[in-house]
Amino acid sequence: MSCANVMKRDRTAVINPLVTCQPMGAMYAVAGIRRGLPLVHGSQGCSTFVRYSFSRHFREPSEIAVTSLHEDAAVFGGRKNLISGIGNLASRFKPSVIGAISTCSSEIIGDDMEGFIKIAQEELKQKMGEVEAGKIKIVPISTPSFVETHFKGYDNAIKALVNNLAEDPTDSNGKINIIPGIVNPGDIREIKHILSLMGVEGIVLTDISDPFDSPLRPSVTETKPFYPKGGTAVEEISDSSNSLGTISLCGYAGSGAETLEKKYNVPAAVGPIPIGVHNTDNFIRNLKKFTDLEIPDSILDERGLLIDSMADLSSRYLFGRKVAIFGDPAISAGIARFVCELGMIPSVVCTGVENPEFVSEMETVAKESDEPVDVMIGSDLRALEVLLEEDPVELMIGHSDGRLFAKQLDIPLIRVGYPVYDRVGYHRIPIVGYNGSVNLIDRITNTVFEKYYDKEHWKLQQ
């Protein structure tokens, strides 16, 4: 048992940021809706640079519209841009949902997005007729860029979607709502796999697994406009009020679940992300609690496979090794707990957010660790670099932005989370669930082999 040593960034400047601003999280959330389009109410760069970022990580198209705010709007407000933007988007793209996402500019100008959307909806009704216009849902999502981070933006977006699209409950649909957080397509697919083993259907709020990993089949792909396969249907979001429960995988993404609980009595469970044995057990227990279903043998087998590889690998190669973990607060806390289960030491866990959920998760982890854990909040990569220069570790686990100083400090970097742009396929390989944890332990152990073992030495199992 040990303690968490919480440290805040001790300078004004942010150097090599670990987080970005709110709208990015909202764009990610809306992209997971079937025929859903994010409409960013801001400057063109607000959408363009996020599109670059998504394309770099997922290696997929990413269609995000923008209202192209410019100088006039700063003076007269963005009313015209938003209303005509919605009109153009509706008539040209025929989306099912337009997520109207605010930015720093539109928030400071003080645009009344909800009011403008009502006017736009009236105009659409006149132009397209009531029925057609009714098919296009427009959801205002407030994401001021100067408050918190993209994780908050994601949370705000899911909350706005549920608030606007979930309908009054009718009969139970026997399903489970899953709010995945900002994770990879492979992770969502793994969660769906677990649900199918349990024998329960899920509503993923929202499901980017197909939109951000879609097949190249020009004959069945909608290209004019481009709509990828998959995503959560609007009807499913409407139906989320009839579900047995909502599980939010990430601590920062609880508002949607809480909304469904307060408004429609759908019980909620928020975090921790199912990485490692304890956290995944917790997830499965929640599933059992909400559905009243027995846990099938197949799931217990998968758990057994994880324990099996832990038993094999941890004591021989991993035990006692010091690790630095950085990036996404939920994923970092999950991995920190998992490395403790492997007998490793999470010496430093560093994230760009300051949210209390993360700190409390890290306190749990610290209790399970033999040595104290440095928990860096509101931090950046430079701070981590400086700390590791003084007090090096044997492994780093985090995203690609850490690659430069990892190389400089000669510490191997195991890539997880978002963004990973200097390796391929990582968005497809899950790190959640028992199976995902097996992938993670393999990835960690192989990296340890590469760095710390003489692979050529003998042919026997090392």
């Binding site: 942010v14 760069g45 004019k224 406009p225 481009f226 430069l404």
Partner: protein
């Protein structure tokens, strides 16, 4: 449900038919002869789009204006391929290697843009870090000036940079922070160069303004200035002898993406010119500060740097010539122009020698690529000068440019395009994602040359793609670069992958088995795969 599907299928077939018949321009390409390419008949309506967008597309035809409407507001609600003014400014300045590039605004503007440009450095790596003032709600209310000053002082202490460029973002313009006075105060306190860049994102719909504002910052605060006193130990470029002074030049608008400048550098050295400064690829602050000493400005990216060249001509009497190092013909022309400018008989002779030997070398290696690529068609859709500077290079590979365009061209850019492209080439301005999809669908180029945002859309439509933007990994400039270019284009177009997936429109199944014969792999293998997957 089934009914719906079959309806859709019918629609699809109908569309297929129309795509393949009268709708499709009849493009006949005569191999090996650049000038006698038969002009495809382009229907009057280029593609289906909004009324207001139609005038942004035209077909180059002799005797007509052939310049699309441009530099206009993007239609709100479109998936524009454009960026913001800050984006334009950072593209120009961020390659300066030994400077800190501090973004004054909410965190996102820095987070999404640090280290995303493949400009290489032979020295400092400082420019690759992301710096932000991370404006928070209370800064929005009370102003961010104090925080900015603190940040500059702090960063100067940690890194001792040669300069700190401070970029304004949308928020700064809205809350009214006085960037200039903070920078000037910070300059006094730190004794360092602190340079404001007034690049509020929403200032224009066109990031070209950002290019211009970046050039303004260089002109006002850097070029022709002495280093700050406390940095007296900063090494200045020492000019060795008179020969060097007389033959010194700057390269403007060369950003050393993937090491392009390094491909040009030895050529220039061999012909006997010395490079004073590159603006801004692989450059240092003090090199640029002395750019006013050069005798000539070469302008590579005319889109971003024409303005700077004009200003330097006016301020420092430095004449300019436009150069283009993409392709054999363009590189040769550029080298000749440089020699001609310096009126040095020895240089003229050397240039001819180099051109002769390099051209022969390229010719030797280029044949296999040309065999693969001859007659293939290309669409170019980029942000800058590549919309015209690449055209000849493609023609040298025997390819035909069907379409070219930019996201933020100005009338003078389209004038250059008009001067460069053949009759019958489509010219488009600010095409959004859907228009781009329609253009690819209708004109079916064998290759799209564009940036990262367009890449995956293009692949999903079955159109091969070649990155000519920040993300590319090999240098394309100069004679050697042209071979890299040929290799990359060949890799993209000739990849066997395109035998496995039908391009753009799905032919019926029989088409996959018959019409699209597989050249490199045994047929059975492919049919098996198709049966397995479809």
């Amino acid at each position: 449900m089934q009914n719906k599907n079959s309806n859709r299928q019918q629609d699809q077939e109908k569309e297929n038919q129309s795509m393949f018949s009268d709708d499709l321009p009849n493009i006949e390409i005569l191999k090996e002869s650049k000038m006698s390419i038969k002009v495809p008949e382009i229907p009057e309506e280029i593609i289906k789009t909004l009324k207001s967008r139609k005038k942004h597309m035209c077909v180059k035809k002799d005797g007509t204006n052939s310049i699309p409407s441009c530099n206009e507001v993007s239609v709100p609600g479109m998936v524009t391929q454009r960026s913001c003014v800050y984006g334009g400014a950072r593209v120009v300045l961020m390659p300066i290697t030994d400077a800190i590039h501090l973004v004054h605004g909410p965190l996102g503007c820095a987070s999404c843009t640090w280290d995303i440009r493949g400009t290489r450095s032979s020295g400092s790596e400082l420019y690759r870090n992301g710096f932000s003032t991370d404006l928070q709600e209370k800064d929005i209310v009370f102003g961010g000036e104090k925080k900015l000053l603190e940040t500059i002082i702090e960063l100067n202490q940690i890194f001792e940079p040669a300069a700190i460029f401070v970029y304004a973002t949308c928020v700064v313009g809205l809350i009214g922070d006085d960037l200039k006075s903070v920078c000037s105060e910070a300059g006094k306190i730190t004794g360092s160069r602190v340079i404001p860049v007034q690049s509020e994102g929403f200032r224009s719909v066109n990031k070209s303004l950002g290019h211009q504002l970046a050039c303004d910052a260089l002109l006002e605060y850097l070029i022709g200035t002495e280093p700050p006193q406390n940095k007296g130990n900063v090494k200045r470029n020492e000019v060795k002898d008179h020969q060097d002074i007389d033959h010194s030049l700057n390269i403007l608008g060369e950003f050393n993406v993937a090491g392009d400048f390094w491909a040009i550098k030895p050529l220039l050295k061999n012909i006997g010119v010395s490079i004073q400064a590159v603006v801004t690829g692989d450059s240092t602050v003090e090199e640029i500060a002395q750019a006013n000493l050069a005798k000539l400005n070469l302008v590579q990216c005319q889109k971003s740097s024409r303005y700077l060249a004009d200003a330097m001509e006016e301020l420092y009497n430095i004449p300019q010539i436009r150069v283009n190092f993409f392709g054999v013909e363009e590189t040769s022309t550029s080298l000749r122009a440089i020699a001609k400018f310096f009126k040095d008989p020895q240089m003229i002779e050397t240039v001819e020698k180099i051109i002769k030997s390099e051209t022969e070398r390229v010719e030797e290696s280029i044949t296999p690529y040309r065999q693969h690529l001859s007659g293939k068609t290309v669409a170019v859709y980029v942000g800058g000068n590549k919309a015209w500077s690449l055209i000849r290079a493609f023609e040298e590979l025997g390819m035909k440019v069907l379409l070219t365009g930019t996201q933020n061209g100005l009338p003078e850019d389209y004038q250059r395009i008009k001067e460069t492209v053949r009759d019958g080439t489509l010219v488009v301005d600010d095409a959004n994602a859907m228009e781009l999809a329609r253009l690819l669908d209708k004109y079916k180029p064998d290759l799209l040359v564009s940036g990262a945002k367009e890449k995956y859309l293009s692949l999903k439509m079955g159109v091969a793609f070649c990155d000519f933007n920040h993300d590319r990994i090999s240098a394309f400039a100069g004679f050697k670069g042209f071979l890299n270019f040929a290799r990359e284009v060949d890799r993209a177009v000739s990849s066997p992958v395109w035998n496995l997936s039908p391009k753009i429109k799905a032919p019926t199944k029989t088409d996959i088995f018959t019409a699209r014969s597989i050249e490199k792999k045994p047929k059975e293998e492919v049919t098996e795969i198709v049966q397995g997957s479809e």
